[in-house]
């Protein structure tokens, strides 16, 4: 059972000093499933998402991907989980293309990102330094990187911030398509109904 592509968390708990953010949290996501993470600011959405990504360490409990703890993943298993935080991991001094080429080299993916850039209407700014991009454009480049990585699991932390309505629609559609073809997505958001679909898991931290 464990080798089936399963992302599961068992009795997760996080304490900050004497304050408890959450405890005894269990969840299990199989292929083609979506989870929406909701809760007020500071309720621990980002903390939980980083724990699921394997960046953060819970005070108790563990998160496993295909049976192995997410903190011990290496090689291809590691590349199957994509995490997009509030900041877009763009070097301000590099152009959009240079940033994408760098990430392609890191995930050893061939660089077919021209098509994605067009869809995101970024082809004019492709050779502009990331420092001169607007917040919305930077968000779109982060989306391009997400597509480039081609990960099975998407962990997105409030991905719709700074995106205009057109960008949001694109994101929602891509997420739906990603889940439809068997991908897993965990999205921390303040507008869950934007992504809501039948069978989605709703994790409310507040």
């Amino acid at each position: 059972m464990t080798d089936r592509a399963l992302l599961s968390g068992r009795d997760l708990a996080v304490w900050r000093g004497e304050r408890c953010l959450f405890e005894e949290l269990h969840f299990e996501l199989g292929p083609a499933q979506l989870a929406l993470l909701v809760g007020a600011n500071g309720s621990g959405k980002t903390t939980l998402l980083r724990i699921v990504a394997g960046l953060g360490v819970p005070t108790a409990g563990s998160v496993t991907w295909k049976g192995a703890s997410v903190t011990e993943l290496t090689g291809e298993d590691r590349a199957e989980i994509a995490y997009r935080g509030h900041v877009e991991a763009l070097k301000r001094e590099l152009t959009v293309v240079e940033n994408l080429e760098f990430h392609a080299a890191i995930w050893s993916r061939e660089q077919a990102f021209e098509q994605v850039l067009e869809e995101l209407k970024l082809e004019q700014v492709a050779h502009m330094r990331a420092r001169y991009l607007s917040a919305g454009q930077r968000r779109r480049v982060a989306l391009a990187m997400l597509m480039l990585q081609g990960a099975k699991v998407w962990l997105l932390d409030e991905p719709t911030t700074n995106l205009d309505s057109e960008g949001r629609a694109l994101l929602v559609e891509w997420t739906r398509r990603h889940v439809a073809v068997g991908g897993i997505a965990v999205i921390a958001t303040h507008q869950p109904d934007e992504f809501a679909m039948r069978g989605a898991l709703m994790i409310d931290l507040s």
């Binding site: 000093g17 004497e18 005070t59």
Partner: protein
């Protein structure tokens, strides 16, 4: 890797807390009595050194404090390493408890070493003596550890980051020690004084060893008392703490 049962028992805070409560009285009283006996023997009964005279009596405390300082760093580094690898909160608690003790004793060793240097070599800060320089560097390592620990407000992160510094530090200690020794040998040539001073006659050896034992016992008493404080702090409102505190122990 299956760890032996006692290792797990050592890993459970309530067990260690009660163990410390049982051990501390013995360590404390034995340590203090040995300190008194050793000091009296060293100051009054033992003969002065034919070469250095009375100031030689500092040999009954300086090497001991230096040895405790060094041992504290090793205890700290090993505990921090175990805490980091096996994620044992208790091991981090031991490391945190050992650090300030080590820093204080290294400072004390530095002071007594410098004071001892005054009559023997004519200066307070004898660059020639590699041990003084090594003590100073060890003190900086301790201060670095304590400063780094103080810079974090979240305890878990502070534990794991300072653990890395402690392990890197302990790997560097032999390197620093031998490079300082090497540096001293080229500048001053073989010192007339053997590292430990002139050979100790038997009646000097006895108080020396008593003081070593006394300082070791005191170190463990201090370590366990601080460890108990750390354990209570780290366990927060765990059930066994509520019972312990509810029972209103001192």
């Amino acid at each position: 890797m299956k760890l032996p049962r006692w290792f797990h028992q050592l890993g459970s805070p309530p067990y260690v807390y009660r163990l410390a409560d049982r051990l501390c009285p013995w360590l404390g009283w034995l340590g203090v009595s040995l300190l008194v006996v050793g000091a009296y023997w060293g100051l009054v009964i033992a003969p002065p050194d034919y070469q250095q005279g009375e100031s030689y009596r500092i040999i009954y405390i300086h090497p001991q404090t230096a040895y405790i300082g060094m041992m504290s760093y090793v205890v700290m580094a090993i505990a921090a390493g175990i805490g980091y690898v096996w994620r044992l909160k208790l091991a981090h608690a031991v490391a945190v408890s050992a650090a300030p003790i080590g820093a204080w004793f290294t400072f004390c060793a530095l002071f007594t070493g410098a004071v001892w240097g005054r009559p023997t070599w004519g200066t307070y800060w004898q660059w020639g003596d590699p041990r003084i320089m090594f003590e100073a560097l060890l003190l900086f390592l301790f201060l670095g550890y304590l400063a780094l620990r103080g810079a974090f407000d979240e305890r878990d992160k502070a534990d794991r980051v300072t653990a890395i510094l402690a392990v890197v530090g302990v790997v560097n200690i032999p390197i620093v020690h031998y490079s300082v020794e090497w540096w001293n040998s080229i500048h001053q040539g073989p010192t007339i004084l053997r590292a430990g001073g002139p050979a100790m006659t038997n009646d000097m050896l006895a108080p020396f060893l008593i003081m070593v034992a006394a300082f070791t016992l005191t170190f463990y008493w201090l370590l366990l008392r601080r460890l108990q404080g750390e354990i209570v702090e780290r366990e927060g409102d765990a059930r066994w703490i509520r019972e312990l505190v509810g029972a209103g122990t001192p």
